[in-house]
């Protein structure tokens, strides 16, 4: 074997290596800051879990209990609950940070990553090297996508582990928004949505500040809309409470997500729960209900077992939207610049 032959860089099968490395060099600061942010976030999650454990152990050692009020335990219980509440607050904010992240990803992708190149004309430099515009965009998106995939996997795992602490006195309910956006593949899907929306808006708007703002708004809008329609993403269950005494008990599973309550008429029509509220006299109220032919109450709810179907549908919608935005972005690039 000859040792004289100059070492040739091995060509990457994706052809992405060169452009991707250039993207990393260009955005070193932001990428390092993101890594630091993700590591700090994961560390904070692990920290809350460990602290929760420690506070619980210390509390158990005092012999006091929250349920049975024992004389002399008042301050201990109060201070324990304060500590737990503080940790809960930290976790809730962390959950909200998961919602802010895709907005930031969208803004960064649209503004500094893409529109700035189009605005300042540096795309002409990039595209006049041996790299097609499509490969350029692929590299631009692949670098943050890889970082987000890796970082969010770790962060999601850390958050889930921190939340899973049983016996914590305050917890995020399964139907709260932070629960949906921090679990499973949802964080990655939200980040990819930000990336897709950012890419499309960056290419369309071509002005850094405008693209950045618009992408943040658009990503935020998608998040808001999804949160408001979330309960409809899976069929609701309904339980009914009749007026007659024998079926006047409601059977609901533990910890349900009650979406809607109301009254129904003999004709099957649904009425708001408060139709006959505010009547002073009971007889008056009875007459009101008779007038409306109200025969019972209903409750629309999701049982806790609906969490995963709901969550998977939401993740699916996000991934479809992200894919749609990315397809449009690449098509736009190809049509304009070939």
């Amino acid at each position: 074997m000859s040792t004289l032959a100059p070492p040739r860089p091995s060509p990457s099968p994706t052809g992405l290596r060169g452009p991707a490395r250039v993207v990393v060099r260009q955005h070193r600061l932001v990428l390092w800051a993101s890594v630091a942010f993700l590591v700090l976030g994961a560390a904070a999650m692990v920290g809350t879990r460990l602290l929760t454990d420690r506070f619980a152990d210390q509390f158990a050692a005092t012999g006091c209990s929250i349920e049975d009020t024992v004389h002399g335990c008042g301050d201990t219980v109060r201070s324990y609950l304060d500590d737990q509440y503080l940790l809960h607050t930290v976790q809730s904010w962390a959950g909200l940070a998961f919602l802010v992240l895709p907005v930031l990803v969208g803004a960064f992708t649209a503004g500094p990553l893409i529109a700035r190149e189009l605005e300042t004309g540096t795309y002409k430099l990039a595209w006049s090297q041996s790299v097609t515009p499509a490969r350029w965009l692929t590299a631009k998106l692949a670098v943050p996508a890889a970082l987000l995939l890796a970082g969010l996997s770790v962060l999601t795992a850390a958050f889930t582990w921190a939340r899973a602490r049983t016996g914590s006195e305050y917890s995020i309910d399964w139907y709260d928004t932070p629960a949906f956006v921090t679990t499973g593949a949802a964080p990655v899907a939200y980040a990819l949505l930000g990336l897709g929306v950012g890419a499309l808006i960056g290419l369309l708007v071509r002005r850094t500040v405008a693209a950045l703002s618009l992408a943040a708004l658009a990503t935020g809008a998608v998040i808001t809309v999804l949160a408001s329609v979330r309960s409809a993403l899976w069929p609701l269950r309904t339980t009914v409470l009749g007026m007659s005494a024998d079926d006047a008990t409601i059977t609901l599973p533990i910890n349900p997500w009650v979406v809607r309550t109301g009254q129904f008429t003999s004709g099957g029509e649904r009425l708001p729960v408060d139709v006959c509220w505010g009547m002073d006299v009971e007889a008056e109220q009875a007459r009101c209900m008779a007038d409306h032919h109200i025969t019972g109450m209903f409750i629309d709810y999701h049982p806790a077992s609906h969490f995963w179907p709901l969550q998977l549908v939401e993740t699916g919608i996000l991934l479809v939207l992200a894919a749609l935005a990315l397809t449009l972005a690449f098509r736009l690039l190809r049509r304009r610049h070939g």
């Binding site: 002409k124 430099l125 006049s128 090297q129 070939g338």
Partner: protein, 298 residues
């Protein structure tokens, strides 16, 4: 016959219906190995033409064949393009920029050329701190180290002091001499390019009005002075009457009557100015500048 560096057929480009045509119905051929001056007034379509040839824009109509191919992915590694504003990443250093050039052109990168051309530049200076001349030098280093068959330079010497202009033009010519690179340089100031270029494309109002070897284009015209009379059958580009005297730039059709006219060869600049002042003068492409496909189709 040598190959064509650029061959345009019915090339047209519009940036949107309302904005009209930046370039329309352009057909011409630039033989390989030439150093071509792409001249014309501001807004004539020079930049559009270069961006189309560089594959940065997709033509609205027609085709542009570069180095014998219309496959942009195949052309891209063989063409270098420096846009008018010399775009570079301001946050990268000179060394980083050259490193990026190598990363983005792995197949063709000539690191020695890059280092030689960029040698006078401070390696660790951020691009945003460089002067205009230094930026141009760095942009040319990137373009030349790519070892392209065709270089497309949009106003490369604008904003440079005369010394830097002379130096960089010398550098370009030296590289072209060594590697027989085809170069197209645009400018709205002809004198910037006159000594360096042996081929000429005059673009005006989105159309190619003159094309061919500079010498041939000049030789196809004559500056005549004499008593006012009909100049038929020659094509008159521009004429001016002062008293009984007529001065005209013509394209002679057959010999000019030397007894009746004082005949002189126009300078390239006179020629270009006369054409710019007479937008209705018919275009002239010398045989080497005729698009072959168009000829075949006709």
């Amino acid at each position: 016959m040598t190959g064509a560096a650029i061959e345009a057929n019915g090339l047209g480009m519009t940036y949107g219906r309302k904005r009209g045509w930046a370039l329309r119905d352009c057909s011409f051929r630039l033989p390989a190995g030439r150093i071509c001056a792409l001249v014309g007034p501001n807004g004539a379509g020079k930049s559009t033409l270069l961006a189309l040839a560089a594959g940065l824009l997709r033509p609205t109509e027609g085709t542009v064949r570069v180095l014998g191919s219309t496959d942009r992915a195949e052309i891209r590694p063989r063409v270098a393009y420096v846009a008018q504003d010399k775009p570079l990443y301001p946050q990268l250093t000179v060394a980083d920029t050259l490193w990026a050039g190598r990363e983005l052109n792995p197949a063709t990168w000539d690191a020695d050329a890059a280092d030689r051309i960029a040698a006078p530049l401070p390696r660790d200076a951020k691009v945003r701190t460089l002067s205009g001349g230094q930026r141009t030098r760095l942009a040319l280093a990137l373009a030349l180290a790519k070892r392209p068959g065709l270089m497309l330079l949009d106003e490369p010497m604008a904003d440079l002091d005369p010394l830097a202009r002379h130096q960089l033009m010398g550098l370009l010519m030296a590289e072209a001499a060594e590697h027989s690179t085809t170069i197209v340089m645009s400018s709205h100031i002809l004198t910037e390019l006159e000594g360096a270029c042996d081929y000429l494309l005059l673009v005006d109002g989105g159309r190619v009005r003159l094309g061919g070897e500079s010498e041939d284009v000049v030789a196809a015209h004559a500056l005549v002075t004499g008593q006012v009379r009909d100049l038929a059958p020659h094509t008159v580009i521009e004429s001016r009457t002062t008293g009984r005297q007529l001065t005209a730039l013509i394209r002679p059709d057959g010999p000019v009557d030397a007894a009746a006219w004082d005949v002189a060869e126009p300078s390239l600049e006179e020629l270009l100015l006369a054409h710019l002042r007479s937008p209705d003068a018919p275009p002239l492409l010398t045989p080497s500048a005729h698009a072959r496909e168009a000829v075949a189709a006709a």
